[in-house]
């Protein structure tokens, strides 16, 4: 059943095209088709996850051209997990957006599904140039979703976003060209084979290309000091767009992980482990900048943005360790921070629309409608995001701390991660206290009332937060699964053999 592998890419593209072709002016039907398609995507992703859980790497040769001459998609534990995560997030966000946001501009649903196509493609592709194409699909679709609803702040932030990311895209082309110039191939598995054999006189070009590629991914992952696009863009974006963007930074981290283990692994000669000296220090810097931003935030959405940045710092610390425990922790943290961060952005949206002219600013305002469920959800979301027990953020943090023990940077990781955690806790306690506790008497008709369909949207946030609890309760089986994925990722020979032919990877192959 390897034919399913291409579905997470083709289905959203076809759905988006269908929405444009047949339903471009019928929002109600768009919603039905869009939500159904998202659930279908989720079902496909679940199936792929089940398929990948046996530890076998499965290639999919698009156009039936053999690797490395055509484009190969690859389903392994890593890509299956992330496609599933994306599908779950997408289903939640699409339902939330159908609660009203999608009516504030044109083409929300088509662009959303095009984004899904790009994200899934980026996770599944086994070809560096194809990855570039999916990055472009994502970039332009996310740009459209970010501008959804219009307005000057969004345009300005959007320009910032797209300018920096296009710089990244240009650099991507440079990096890929350099790597192609010395290896003559674009297929990742083929690169893994050819790179150890690169001639010494070409080593410098290869290294430059490799590092520039990592820089591109680091821009996507919002790794400091390349993170500038994130805070403005996510804060200006509509709530549901920002929520779904939580997966996009993860793609940068995923790509770093993928190329670092597959292409620039220990056997890669001149480029072995080339990202390692850069990622960890930069991730610690990201933690610091993110935490400072959380404390400095004057609006809930700013806090959510910097909390997202901070979580990328944590995640990249784990990625930067580049060993089994680190990768496993990174996977757990990825799932956690995507869902929790998305919940926080949606909450910020719900809060903002209920506080009249105060929006989500941390200023004294009259009590809001549905204060009890919202404040309870905020409390839970803050606990999850800040990494306090008993939710998944805490376990994710402990997993990272545990994984960092062996690292030379271990003490720094512990000090910075725990220290910034305290700053984030402080920031969230101030925000929650200002938003929900420090109220002033209501003015007649000033506070925003709860809108219709609010129940549906609150429900979506509730589901996302419930997921962080489930992540925590089932952390045992999950970490076991992620350990297996990490082992698979660290033994790229299985990947290479699956793509380039030869014996299929044995299940549960360990290094």
């Amino acid at each position: 059943m390897t034919g399913w592998i291409v579905l997470p890419i083709v289905l959203p593209a076809a759905v988006a095209a269908f929405l444009l072709l047949a339903l471009s002016r019928d929002l109600q039907r768009q919603r039905i088709v869009s939500a159904t398609a998202s659930l279908l995507l989720l079902a496909i992703a679940v199936h792929l996850q089940a398929l990948a859980s046996d530890g076998v790497t499965r290639p999919y040769f698009v156009g039936a051209w053999p690797a490395p001459f055509g484009i190969t998609l690859v389903l392994d534990g890593l890509s299956a997990t992330l496609v599933l995560l994306n599908a779950a997030l997408a289903a939640a966000v699409v339902i939330y957006a159908a609660g009203g946001w999608d009516a504030r501009g044109r083409h929300f649903h088509p662009m959303f599904h095009f984004l899904m196509m790009g994200v899934n493609g980026a996770f599944l592709t086994g070809d560096v140039f194809n990855l570039f194409v999916f990055f472009e699909v994502m970039l332009i679709a996310s740009y459209g979703l970010m501008l959804h609803g219009g307005g000057a702040p969004r345009l300005r932030a959007g320009f910032h976003y797209v300018a920096i990311n296009l710089t990244g895209s240009t650099l991507f082309l440079f990096a890929v060209s350099l790597i192609y110039a010395v290896t003559g191939t674009l297929n990742m598995a083929d690169l893994a084979v050819k790179i150890p054999a690169v001639r010494p006189e070409d080593a410098a070009l290869l290294r430059t290309g490799g590092l520039l590629l990592i820089v591109v991914f680091a821009i996507k992952a919002a790794l400091a000091p390349l993170h500038w696009w994130l805070p403005n863009a996510y804060a200006a974006a509509p709530g549901p767009s920002a929520a779904v963007f939580m997966i996009m930074t993860k793609i940068g981290a995923y790509a770093i992980l993928r190329v670092s283990t597959l292409i620039f692994g220990p056997e890669a000669g001149a480029v072995a482990g080339l990202a390692a000296p850069w990622i960890l220090p930069a991730a610690l810097l990201t933690l610091g900048i993110g935490a400072a931003g959380v404390l400095a935030g004057r609006r809930l959405v700013d806090i959510a943005c910097f909390a997202a940045l901070w979580s990328m710092g944590s995640l990249l610390v784990a990625v930067g360790l580049l060993d089994g425990p680190g990768i496993s922790a990174a996977l757990y943290y990825t799932v956690h921070s995507t869902l929790a961060g998305a919940a926080l952005f949606l909450l910020a949206d719900l809060v903002a629309e209920r506080r009249g002219r105060w929006r989500d600013r941390l200023a004294m305002a009259p009590p809001i409608a549905q204060a009890l469920p919202l404040s309870a959800m905020f409390f839970v979301a803050a606990i999850a995001v800040a990494g306090l027990p008993p939710l998944s953020g805490f376990l994710g943090k402990v997993l990272i701390l545990d994984a960092a023990r062996a690292s030379a940077w271990g003490v720094w990781v512990w000090a910075v991660l725990l220290g910034t955690s305290l700053v984030v806790i402080l920031g969230f306690s101030r925000a929650g206290s200002a938003l929900f506790w420090k109220t002033r008497p209501a003015e007649a008709g000033a506070a925003g009332a709860a809108e219709a369909r609010a129940g549906l949207r609150l429900g979506v946030v509730g589901v996302l937060l419930g997921a962080t609890l489930l992540l925590s309760v089932f952390a045992g089986p999950l970490t076991r699964g992620f350990d297996a994925v990490a082992a698979q990722v660290l033994a790229p020979s299985g990947y290479v053999a699956a793509v380039l032919g030869g014996a299929p990877a044995a299940p549960g192959m360990r290094r």
């Binding site: 932030a157 910032h160 192609y180 409390f379």
Partner: protein, 960 residues
């Protein structure tokens, strides 16, 4: 799993009280009491086994990777604490039922209380140190909710945040400490760790683990210098103060010291750190308590002092001190909770807690007065009450402690603390209940309902009973608990008796009472002296620290995230340069071996033009039109270069893309000012120029290095397989639609989305504030003739020609230069010319195919072509081709890739026409002000979705 239930029942039971809020408050109280009672019964059922020396254990897996398991154990220490927590919890639930006002949401209160209770029981029953941390932080969180329960009060909010930050921060330290401890012991299971004390103390990780664990314990138990949060936590309703901040939660730190005693205690470091911190806390707390006027503040600082005493005792490293500590934990829980509840009754009845306004209440409320008197006397350490006994034992232990060779330092300071304790206890009781009434109460206070004083009475019973019969009543419990801490071997026989004879402790005790009497006589002088001393205001310092942190964070974050794109891009480019350079220098390099081709005159000319255009661009970039022209020069030279290097497809694509982008930008330019805003300063220009030049030179050098070397690529295969495998001789086209058709599929979607984004953006721009601004703008001169006849005629004549050309280029694409992409661009240019020449309305009215439909259809056709191969069991986009004989055309090759290319064609046409025609429409709109566009029928935007911000400020950081 029975053990786990003791913690889980209150945690899950927390849902019950809020469900009953429609019933009476008594029902709600019962809903809270029921889980507590149930948990207590389960605990009691386990008690006989524990008294019999057994340790009850249960374990379930949670996260084995980090050694976190759901394991619980019940030994003497756990039983002791769990009993205290649940027992006092019941009394507090009863008390709170009467204490809370009618307007307080009582369901929520009980829910928080049960959450806390479950978490606290979890701490004392955990057999896994990480599980312990989980519960530890849960108590911090539930305490946050309880302190902030009256969230309309600023003190409540601030106290809650302060407590959360201090204890939550301590929890983070504890987490680190526990991880290190686990590493040192090789296990995260407490029972294992406690058995490996030697190993732990010998480990190099002992010191850091000890420091971090102590940081956690000291913050939780309000030890100096972290004692400041506890008095501010008193903003909570009194039942909370009595329960969390006196009887239970603050004892968690002390509990932890006792729990880890076998693993961590016994070293000099432990003695110095723990006992001295405790001693300092004992003194500082007692001293401050003496001068407080708020009843709850007196009790809060007294609690700090007593917690210090317990800490000090545990720090002494001796079995006898452990017995004293355990005994005092029990005694303190009884008399202090009773005192808090009494203070709550006074507050409830008189509406003040200020001791300066109180007095003589004994005769108005004799029951409460008596109970408070007894409890207060116990706190002072008056004989025949339980507080006396544990104080004697403390003094005894202190008398034996030597610090740096001195046998009397600790003893003296402990006596001093006892003296202060007597003094503030006396002040508390006498100031409130005796003397003259100092306020004329509007409604004279009277005895509260029994619901309020009964729980106090229940607590005062053991105060007296244990005081009189310590051995039989408290002996077994204390012995069992102390044995669990220090181990049966390390423990002297527990003899709790009233009379020990004339011991040093008795002498110290007597001295304390005498000194306290003297102190109270001279209190006004002491007070005056104290006021002259420097008194650190912990709250102010904490607030100032937080304010400074917030201000610093704002400065840092605001300074970093200015929203200046040039700056951000500058940093990014610098990072790229640094990383790229480091990468290049980190490995070996040799110049390429390929011969450099001779430079011909045409190439030289093209190069000169290119450089001149770039230089001109840098100089004249403020003129937007000139910029556009110069940029297209660059594009043209690039397409010439493609031609030179035998890439006609690329050249054709490049030229058509150039045309389309130039039209697009020309349309956009019409809506923009003619020049760009002026830039500041030469220095910045030089800086930015230097960065740009470095990046440009770097890119050029890399390109040169790459182009001057030979290498083998996968393209060899593409060239070989183009005809036999892909059915076309134009390898570029076969790559585009077949080998890498998947890339093309993605790229046409990129184009389609870009058009959608433009469409959506302009659709919003045509309504609301942006539309009004557009109307007001009327940029530039209005053309004398909007639609010149010559142009109209020429474009209409050209249309069929251009479309035929597009069809030709499309059809030949598979074998000769051409293909769907180029054909699409040509067709789009032909169509867009109609829009430009004849106006949007004219063209749109005649367009049969809507551009949106074209995009959708194009993507769908390309996608369906790819899916078609599924019908034959082949992967997505597998192509097929065959030769057919058609009547007129003769032998014709048809490839499935052509259908794919048709999708490409349609998407390209749709995307370009959609984007360009809408920009043209916006322009039209600007020309014909006041006319509502047809698309304006969209639903109105959100009222405040896009806060209006001045043009010069970035979106971030402005709205404060």
């Amino acid at each position: 799993m029975t053990l786990a239930l003791i913690a889980l029942i209150p945690l899950l039971g927390a849902c019950l009280p809020p469900l009953t809020t429609r019933s009476s408050r008594t029902v709600t109280a019962w809903a809270a009491a029921a889980p507590t009672l149930l948990a207590l019964l389960i605990l009691a059922a386990q008690a006989p086994a524990v008294f019999g020396g057994e340790v009850v254990r249960t374990s379930a897996e949670w996260v084995p990777r980090i050694g976190l398991s759901f394991s619980f154990m019940l030994d003497g220490l756990g039983l002791f604490f769990a009993g205290l927590i649940l027992g006092i919890g019941l009394l507090i639930i009863a008390y709170a039922r009467h204490y809370l006002g009618r307007r307080d949401p009582i369901g929520r209160f009980y829910a928080y209380l049960l959450l806390f209770q479950g978490a606290m029981v979890g701490i004392v029953l955990s057999d896994n140190i990480l599980l312990l941390v989980v519960f530890w932080e849960l108590t911090s969180l539930s305490s946050f909710l309880l302190i902030g329960y009256w969230n309309h009060l600023p003190e409540g909010r601030q106290g809650a945040r302060m407590a959360l930050v201090v204890t939550g921060g301590g929890g983070l330290a504890l987490l680190a400490g526990m991880l290190l401890l686990g590493q040192a012991a090789g296990s995260h299971e407490l029972s294992e760790i406690l058995a490996r004390g030697e190993e732990v103390r010998a480990s190099p990780l002992y010191m850091p683990a000890l420091l971090l664990v102590l940081l956690g314990a000291f913050t939780k138990s309000a030890q100096f210098p972290f004692h400041f949060w506890l008095p501010h936590a008193m903003a909570a309703p009194t039942p909370v103060s009595a329960y969390l901040h006196s009887a239970t939660m603050v004892k968690a730190g002390v509990f932890l010291l006792a729990r880890l005693w076998p693993a961590l205690a016994g070293t000099d470091a432990w003695f110095v750190l723990v006992s001295l911190t405790g001693l300092a806390t004992m003194l500082v707390g007692a001293w401050i308590a003496l001068f407080k006027d708020d009843l709850k503040a007196i009790l809060a600082y007294s609690t700090v002092s007593h917690l210090g005493m317990m800490t000090m005792l545990l720090g002494f490293n001796t079995g006898i001190a452990v017995i004293a500590a355990v005994f005092h934990i029990l005694n303190h829980a009884t008399f202090k909770a009773a005192l808090f509840m009494s203070a709550g009754i006074v507050d409830h009845e008189t509406h003040t807690r200020d001791i300066r306004k109180l007095g003589g209440l004994y005769w108005l409320m004799p029951v409460t007065g008596t109970l408070a008197l007894i409890a207060g006397a116990s706190m002072a350490g008056v004989p025949l009450l339980n507080g006396f006994l544990s104080k004697e034992m403390m003094l005894d232990a202190a008398a034996e402690a030597t610090l740096a060779g001195n046998g009397w330092v600790v003893a003296t300071l402990a006596t001093l603390a006892a003296l202060l304790s007597v003094a503030y206890s006396a002040r508390f009781v006498f100031g409130t209940f005796f003397g003259r009434p100092r306020t004329a109460f509007e409604h004279p206070p009277h005895e509260p309902p029994p619901g309020l004083w009964l729980p106090v009475a229940v607590l005062v019973v053991p105060v007296v009973a244990i005081g009189l019969l310590p051995g039989p009543l408290a002996g077994p419990i204390v012995e069992m608990t102390a044995a669990a801490v220090a181990g049966p071997a390390g423990l002297p026989p527990v003899k709790l008796t009233l009379w020990h004879g004339i011991t040093p402790a008795l002498v110290m005790s007597v001295a304390a009472f005498a000194g306290a009497a003297l102190l109270l006589l001279l209190i006004h002088h002491v007070e005056r002296a104290r006021l002259r001393l420097w008194r650190p205001e912990a709250k102010a310092m904490f607030d100032a620290t937080v304010a400074a942190a917030v201000a610093g964070a704002r400065r840092l974050s605001g300074g970093l995230h200015t929203g200046s794109l040039p700056r951000d891009l500058g940093v990014i480019v610098l990072a790229i340069l640094a990383v790229g350079l480091a990468g290049f220098l980190g490995a070996t390099h040799a110049p390429g071996a390929r011969e450099v081709q001779p430079t011909g005159i045409p190439a030289l000319a093209a190069w000169v033009i290119l450089v001149a255009a770039c230089a001109g661009l840098a100089v004249a970039h403020r003129n937007r039109l000139l910029t556009l022209i110069l940029t297209s020069v660059v594009g043209l030279i690039v397409s010439l270069a493609f031609l030179q290097f035998s890439a006609p497809d690329l050249a054709m694509t490049q030229i058509s893309v150039e045309v389309v982008t130039t039209i697009l930008l020309l349309l956009a330019l019409n809506l923009l000012p003619k020049t760009t805003p002026a830039e500041p300063g030469t220095a910045r220009k030089l800086r930015d120029g230097a960065i740009a030049a470095a990046a440009g030179l770097g890119a050029a050098a890399l390109a040169f290095a790459a182009m001057t070397r030979d290498f083998e690529t996968i393209s060899t295969y593409h060239i070989e397989q183009s005809k036999p495998g892909g059915g076309g001789t134009n390898v570029v086209n076969v790559i585009l639609v077949d080998f890498r058709g998947f890339d093309t599929f993605g790229e046409i979607i990129v184009l389609g989305i870009a058009a959608l984004a433009i469409h959506a953006l302009l659709a919003t721009a045509l309504r609301g504030a942006a539309a009004r601004r557009l109307d007001a703008m009327r940029m530039g001169e209005v053309s004398g003739d909007a639609h010149p006849l010559m142009l109209v005629v020429a474009t209409r004549v050209l249309l069929p020609l251009a479309l035929t050309l597009a069809a030709y280029i499309f059809l030949r694409g598979h074998n000769q230069p051409g293909g769907g992409f180029i054909a699409g661009l040509i067709a789009a240019i032909a169509l867009i010319m109609q829009y430009m020449a004849s106006g949007h309305a004219w063209a749109a009215a005649r367009a049969r195919l809507q551009p949106l439909t074209m995009i959708g259809a194009g993507v769908l056709i390309a996608g369906l072509t790819g899916m078609g191969s599924w019908a034959f069991g082949r992967p997505f986009l597998t192509s097929t081709f065959g030769y057919f004989h058609l009547p007129i055309a003769g032998e014709v090759e048809l490839a499935s890739a052509m259908a794919f290319d048709l999708g490409v064609f349609l998407t390209v046409v749709g995307a370009v026409v959609l984007a360009l025609s809408h920009i043209a429409r916006v322009e039209q709109r600007a020309e014909r002000s006041g006319h509502a566009p047809e698309d304006a029928a969209l639903p109105p935007g959100p009222p405040t979705a896009a806060p209006r911000i001045g043009l010069r400020t970035p979106a971030y950081g402005r709205e404060d």
